[in-house]
Amino acid sequence: MTIYNLYIFDRDGQMLYYGEWTRKKQSGMSREEEAKLMYGMIFSIKSFVTKMSPVDLREGYLTYCTNKYRLHLFETPSRIKFVLNTDVGAQGIKELLHQIYTQVYVEYVSFNPMCPLNKPIESELFAAKLDEVVRQSPAYASRPA
């Protein structure tokens, strides 16, 4: 079980935060370019899913997996997007992302008057709390380096 990395995007597609735990491979481009590519991909996947869905879709959570990792996308009704990469078998990630939203984002960004809503998050408290929540989650287990 492992958690690789997390991207948070605002509703305009700007990356608000990037966090990394046990990522093994970098994409070989700058973080900004990677963020744009990631946002582009999830935007397209969302549109693809909406079109391909045979039945009415409830929004909010979708996931895909490859043979090496699983990507989880959680989107709040206010269109903040949390993208978390884990190993293929990770369980309970929807709950974890909800927890990150309610206990970390809302508490340390929404309610921090010094933290602008549409700029990358610089709060150290936010970063520390996020790290704590991720490391405590059952899906996180550090593997030998």
């Binding site: 397209s44 996947i45 079109k51 895909y64 490859t66």
Partner: protein, 217 residues
């Protein structure tokens, strides 16, 4: 258990086969009084619900009939404009039928070609080295399994998230593709598959897969 549809993409990303197996029809009819409580707008030349949903009519559904008369695009069969009819109080009470839109053939081709770059991006953005592309894509009410052969042909099955044995089904479809398309001397590679034998066998395979206990076979 339900399998909704099947797509086959050629090596270069073109859609070469598509079959809707068990696609539900979602339609709702209701009589409205003036003024209309639904917000409608025009998207892709169709009249769609943009806000306000009730009695099964959902945001994203398309207006398909007014008082039993078919609406194509924005136009009624007798040539009147649907939005104008809806604006006129004299036409109320009015019976409207909405349906969840289905993909047209062109849209299917377009969506299939969209999947190709997504597949490649998933691989590029992987946090682990040597990842494949997307194998399973899951939303809360459907699942798409994708199987890519070593030669680059992609088979995609869209099913209920609880459908089991989809991997086995994909392999079965691959065999059928080899048997009834590739071995057919009149089939040329990368071209749409139009072989009756393939159709028949595929249908049987999909029906079998929907029966419980298929995964044990």
């Amino acid at each position: 258990m339900t399998i909704f549809s099947l797509y086959i993409l050629s090596k270069s990303g073109g859609l070469i086969y598509q079959h809707d197996h068990n696609l539900p029809t979602i339609e709702n009819e209701k009589t409205f009084s003036f003024p209309l409580e639904l917000k409608l707008d025009v998207q892709n030349r169709n009249v769609m619900v943009s806000f306000g949903q009730r009695d099964g009519i959902k945001v994203g559904h398309m207006l398909v009939a007014i008082n039993g008369m078919k609406v194509t695009g924005q136009q009624l069969d007798d040539g009147r404009d649907a939005l104008q009819v809806l604006q006129d109080e004299a036409n109320y009470p009015i019976n409207l039928k909405f349906a969840r839109p289905r993909l047209t053939t062109n849209e299917k081709i377009f969506q299939a070609s969209m999947f190709y770059p997504l597949y490649a991006l998933a691989c590029q953005l992987s946090p682990e080295p040597r990842s494949s592309g997307i194998e399973v894509l899951e939303a809360d009410n459907f699942r798409m399994n994708c199987f890519q052969t070593l030669t680059g042909v992609k088979f995609m099955v869209i099913s209920d998230p609880k459908q089991s044995g989809v991997d086995a089904l994909l392999h079965r479809v691959y065999e059928l593709y080899a048997d009834f398309a590739l071995k057919n001397p009149f089939y040329s590679l990368e071209m749409p598959i139009r072989c009756e034998l393939f159709d028949e066998h595929l249908k049987t395979a999909l029906e079998q897969a929907e029966r419980p206990g298929f995964s044990n076979v």
